[in-house]
Amino acid sequence: MRTKLQQQIAFFIFRSLGLLVIGLLFWILGFIVYHGAGVISWEFLTTAPRDGMTAGGIWPALVGTCYLVIGSMVVAFPLGVMSAVYTSEYARNGRIVRLIRIMTNNLSGIPSIVFGLFGMSLFVRTLGFGDSILAGSLTLGLLVLPLVIRTTEEALQAVPATYRTGSRALGASRWQTVSRVVLPVAFPNIITGLILAVGRVSGETAPILFTVAAYFLPQLPTSIFDQAMALPYHLYVIATSGTDLEATRPIAYGTALVLIGVVLCINLLANLLRRRIGKHAHKS
């Protein structure tokens, strides 16, 4: 009887906490939607800001964020997946692997503003890319590299060892085993890591502050050497340094709503992709 009561109390607490998390999420979403939905319109999404950013839309920032997400993934995805394949499938020397793991973990603990400074010093100044999409993408790419490495490693380690031994026993080399059996099986989970990375990149402000972000650009960037606006920085700007903060508040909420929407859309897309690939890998 006592154990049953204990169990009921424990589960009641766990359930309440679980619901609390969901509640919080919906509260935040509801808050943003309530304040921001009013300004969302086709015009808001597809035009540039006007009148000292108290009117108009967010089109350049939306496009800039998309460019930065794509650019940073082009940097982080191949690099991260390749290093993860190395550490979890190839490296035999346990000490080197441990060293790489520790370094990766340290890298992920560095505050993002430090990445911003580093990116400015290396990409913007030393390599002479200037404030540009290229410099911003590289900086953001480095920022999420540890995340991509770690999730890819986990995805690879989730692949049953019997697949590897089965493949090796048929005379397949390590590379054939990795490329034909292990990676296809791990791919859906690798994509999940990519989704997390995209979410992180699209919301970061500090790393782009000194490397790419423009306060205001009426035109869209035309090359990777151009500056760009980006949603999180734009949000920061109109929420803190506008000419009329009260008037721009709805625009700020609208921007936040679009930012969340973009992340959700990318997650949804990647999830669909993941499911399709998962099914496909299962079938063929």
Partner: protein, 248 residues
């Protein structure tokens, strides 16, 4: 055909195989029996060098297959593993189609001709007594097959690359009695073409399928003789005790 000479094998400081000498005849079935941890699976895995994948494993002595020292410096391990097939305890088909599972060994060994691969896949599935059951669903996932079918698929997969030796590590221990019987029938049919070495926990199985039996205990080969003799009139008391079920 297969010969082990003065084999000692260590996992780190654990002495897993102690001074083993054994000759295994070609085109016959040799069963390795013994209690858990006696070293019989370790011994089996020496012959396709799967133990190489275990860190801190160490071997002394010689392993000859067809007169060739398979641990010699010139030996290409991947090529050796193609010539010496292996079937594992748990069926481990790849999460690919039935066809692709069997074709896998051919593809990784550089064979690309579609006609040839299709022929070889059918041939191997027939040899593994699976063709009739799967011929209409070759494109379906191998994971949808039953455990027994999966194990026969793994045998077909091993046969596809035309090995001379087939190593089987308790191939039926995870299967139901009917599937086990099918695997045993299959072994019986394959013995004329392949040299088969099978590790098993099941004494009846050893007596049913094998020509010769080796009894391992605590890393030593205690007794090795014709199966009929081993199971009717063993020389050593340990063997007698084990096969009559007094321990193990």
């Amino acid at each position: 055909m297969i010969e082990a000479k003065d084999i000692d094998f260590y996992y780190g400081s654990f002495h897993a195989l102690k001074h083993i000498n054994m000759r295994i005849a070609a085109q016959s079935v040799t069963a390795l029996i013994g209690p858990s941890g006696c070293g019989k699976s370790t011994f089996l895995r020496l012959f396709n060098r799967m133990n190489d994948l275990i860190p801190e494993a160490r071997l002394t002595g010689k392993c000859l297959v067809g007169g060739e020292d398979i641990y010699g410096a010139h030996v290409q391990v991947d090529d050796l593993r193609r010539r010496i097939g292996m079937v594992f305890q748990r069926p481990n088909p790849f999460p690919k189609s039935i066809f692709e599972n069997v074709a896998y060994g051919l593809r990784v060994n550089g064979m690309g001709d579609r006609r040839f691969i299709a022929d070889r896949v059918e041939e191997s599935l027939r040899a593994a007594a699976l063709w009739e059951e799967v011929k209409d669903k070759l494109k379906k996932s191998a994971l949808a097959l039953s455990g027994g079918q999966q194990q026969r698929l793994c045998i077909a997969r091993a046969l596809a690359v035309q090995p001379t030796v087939l190593l089987m590590d308790e191939p039926a221990s995870a299967l139901d009695p009917i599937s086990t019987m099918k695997i045993e029938d299959l072994i019986f049919h394959l013995r004329s073409t392949y040299t088969i070495v099978i590790v098993t926990h099941n004494m009846q199985q050893a007596s049913r399928v094998s020509d010769h039996t080796g009894f391992f205990m605590l890393g030593e080969l205690v007794e090795y003789s014709e199966t009929r003799k081993m199971f009717t009139n063993p020389e050593k008391t340990e063997t007698q005790n084990y096969i009559t079920g007094r321990f193990g």
